[in-house]
């Protein structure tokens, strides 16, 4: 049975693909279609009127609050993804390059937080940043401040910090896998050609591994842009993001069509950002032992 896919013809092939098609259709395409439909329906007091309207989108575009939140979400999510990339990519580089046979365990340590519930990870930051939290205690003990400060928690900054923390394992994973595949002799070849470690990084490693950093950035951005848990727990009023409004529309407001329009707007926003980022990905680099 050398290459079974070649021997299967027509119907048999589709039959094999059926579970996947059903899965994607039922769990990905259908719900989103419903969302799209809802966004074009009219909301009424006791339910949804299935007549076509653009008023939900008009409401989204015309609302200053939504635009402010959208802009803020963009800044916070973009900032967090940038910070996470700036921390996790060099970290992955150091682990791959200098941890030798312990690099796997080091990588595991960075990834371990992913095993803890998302909620727990966010909540733990309340303990760190809160009024009686670890940060305040530390600053008091070294005499930087005399009274516990409340500025750390409930701000856009707190949200950005938490999201950076949440994002680090993702950038680390994508960076680690690519960096680990770079043949070690390239480092030697660069040094051999007169490049200091810093220039080796700039002229050889970064150009090759950049896609991994970009993909890591994208992952983090997608995960945190629509997040409403972190803003709710550590953001306060000034740290509210667009995800919270979507939740509100579906929940408290009970206005599903408006919620759907809001949700799809954030999706479009995300796609625009990803589209721009993908411009950085276009050149494919073929590493040793791979085929084009």
């Amino acid at each position: 049975m050398g290459r079974p896919t070649e021997k299967l013809r027509g119907a048999a092939r589709y039959l094999l693909a059926l579970p996947a098609i059903v899965w994607v259709g039922l769990l990905v395409i259908a719900p989103n279609l419903v969302l799209v439909l809802y966004s074009f329906w009219k909301n009424e007091l006791f339910g949804v009127n299935k007549t076509f309207t653009l008023e939900n989108y008009e409401k989204v575009v015309q609302s200053d609050a939504v635009l402010t939140l959208m802009w803020r979400s963009l800044l916070i999510a973009g900032g967090a993804a940038t910070l996470a990339t700036l921390i996790a990519f060099p970290l992955a580089y150091v682990v791959v390059r200098y941890f030798g046979r312990f690099k796997f365990y080091a990588a595991l340590l960075v990834i371990v937080p992913l095993w803890v519930s998302f909620l727990m990870r966010v909540y733990s930051w309340k303990i760190i940043l809160g009024e009686n939290g670890i940060l305040n205690g530390f600053l008091q003990s070294i005499g930087v401040i005399s009274h516990p400060s409340t500025v750390f928690l409930y701000s856009p900054w707190a949200v950005a910090v938490v999201m950076t923390y949440v994002g680090i394992p993702y950038v680390f994973l994508s960076s680690y896998t690519l960096l680990d595949r770079i043949p070690p002799n390239l480092f030697e070849a660069a040094a051999d050609c007169g490049a200091s470690p810093l220039r080796t990084f700039r002229t050889v490693i970064w150009p090759i591994a950049r896609p991994a950093a970009v993909i890591g950035f994208m992952l983090v951005f997608v995960i945190v842009f629509g997040d409403y848990v972190s803003p709710t727990l550590v953001g306060g009023l000034s740290g509210t993001m667009v995800g919270s409004v979507v939740l509100q529309a579906f929940g408290a407001l009970n206005n599903w069509p408006y919620g759907a329009a809001l949700a799809l707007s954030t999706v479009v926003m995300t796609l625009v950002v990803l589209g721009l980022l993908s411009l950085l990905l276009r050149k494919r680099i073929v590493l040793e032992g791979e085929t084009a």
């Binding site: 040094a191 007169g194 150009p207 090759i208 073929v286």
Partner: protein
């Protein structure tokens, strides 16, 4: 300061006037240290977590402009030696000099030494032109000059037609040439080549041998060449250092190491040979088990190995005038195209020889002979230490 090239000859039978082997390419063995390119002094390398040293107390002197080979089987320490010269490994003990400057602890990017890696190690994100120009870019050379120099070197190694291709679009031979151009372009004092032809097929390898030698003479840069292929080393080198188990067994010209091996290992490793365990029985006489021999060039030790190359052995009627003439029976005759390889039973010995096609067959009785001048005695305990 010991000069290994010379002392190696002393070890081999103490015949200093020797070596018609010194050909035109051979350099004056007595040179002042100031003229050395690279000198290794009592260098050892023990990798962390291992007990036996990968390189065990070696001395090497490499002279300007020469083609110097490190020859040995895998695990002999030749690549480790090369990596210590390049700066990728730090010696556990000993010192490395470049000219008069000690560079033992200098990082590789500060050494005017460039390497052709076994797997080429071309930068996958740069095209051929950018790969070759990379060392100049790192050296801060201006763009215009980089461009013209790159063009010059691409033409020199005959890959100018592929200048805009990416490494993965090149064949093995082309990658090899690009790697060579990249190593040469910044005009280093020394180019290191780590089994550069290992991944090529036989025909390409022979072609590249010629290219390498040609280019080396043209640019006049010192080459240090690591190989396990004794044919390659013999064909290309000015000097060969033969290594095994981290130690240098012999240093000399190709003719030296072939005709006057310093240790039994060298005799076996370079070319094919017959080694007979001999016991001296008076002036110019020896016995190897049941046979008595006339010998000339042998050490003072009571026992030694006598190396007789297969091509020195005369057969049948040709054996008649030889100093040593023995009777044997052909056990095996293997057709080799231009000749046949014979294994002949002589007493308890099995002697390798070459014969004309169709001359002798298995089971045939044959006279085996050689002249004493064609045989070299090697002291059995001729440890590498003595070869230094």
């Amino acid at each position: 300061m010991t000069d290994p090239a010379r002392t190696s000859e002393v070890t081999v039978g103490g015949d200093e006037s020797s070596s018609p082997a010194s050909t035109a390419r051979r350099r004056d063995p007595v040179r002042s240290a100031a003229e050395d390119v690279v000198r290794l002094e009592q260098v050892s390398k023990i990798y962390p977590g291992t007990k036996t040293p990968a390189v065990d107390n070696i001395d090497l002197v490499i002279q300007p402009g020469e083609f110097y080979s490190l020859l040995g089987p895998s695990g002999s320490g030749k690549t480790t030696t090369l990596r210590m010269i390049a700066g990728f490994e730090r010696p556990t003990a000993g010192r490395v000099f470049l000219g008069e400057t000690e560079i033992t602890r200098r990082p590789p990017y500060k050494r005017p030494i460039h390497t052709v890696f076994q797997s080429y190690a071309l930068f996958p994100h740069l095209n051929v032109r950018q790969n070759v120009g990379y060392p100049l870019r790192m050296a801060g050379v201006g763009k215009g000059e980089i461009k013209s120099r790159v063009q010059e070197f691409l033409e020199r190694v005959a890959v100018a037609d592929f200048a805009d291709r990416m490494p993965h679009q090149l064949s093995g031979g082309q990658r090899q040439r690009v790697a060579l151009a990249r190593a040469l372009i910044a005009e280093p004092q020394l180019v290191l080549l780590d089994e550069p032809l290992g991944a090529l097929d036989l025909k390409l390898r022979q072609e590249m041998q010629v290219v390498l030698q040609h280019i080396q003479r043209e640019v006049g840069i010192t080459f240090v060449y690591v190989t396990h292929d004794q044919g390659e080393a013999l064909a290309m080198s000015d000097h060969i250092a033969i290594m095994a188990d981290g130690r240098v067994h012999q240093i000399g010209t190709p003719q030296d190491v072939y005709s006057r091996p310093a240790t039994p290992f060298v005799a076996r490793f370079v070319g094919s040979t017959n080694l007979l365990d001999c016991t001296g029985t008076g002036a110019g006489r020896a016995s190897a088990g049941s046979i008595d021999l006339e010998v000339a060039d042998v050490p003072d030790t009571p026992t030694y190995s006598l190396s007789v190359r297969p091509e020195a052995i005369r057969l049948g009627g040709d054996a008649d005038g030889c100093d040593n003439r023995l009777e044997g029976v052909v056990e095996e005759a293997i057709y080799q195209g231009s000749d046949i390889q014979l294994r002949i039973r002589v007493g308890e010995h099995l002697v390798k020889a070459r014969g004309d096609v169709g001359s002798f067959g298995p089971g045939e009785k044959v006279a085996v002979g050689w002249n004493r001048a064609d045989a070299v005695g090697i002291a059995p305990e001729a440890e590498p230490a003595a070869a230094k």
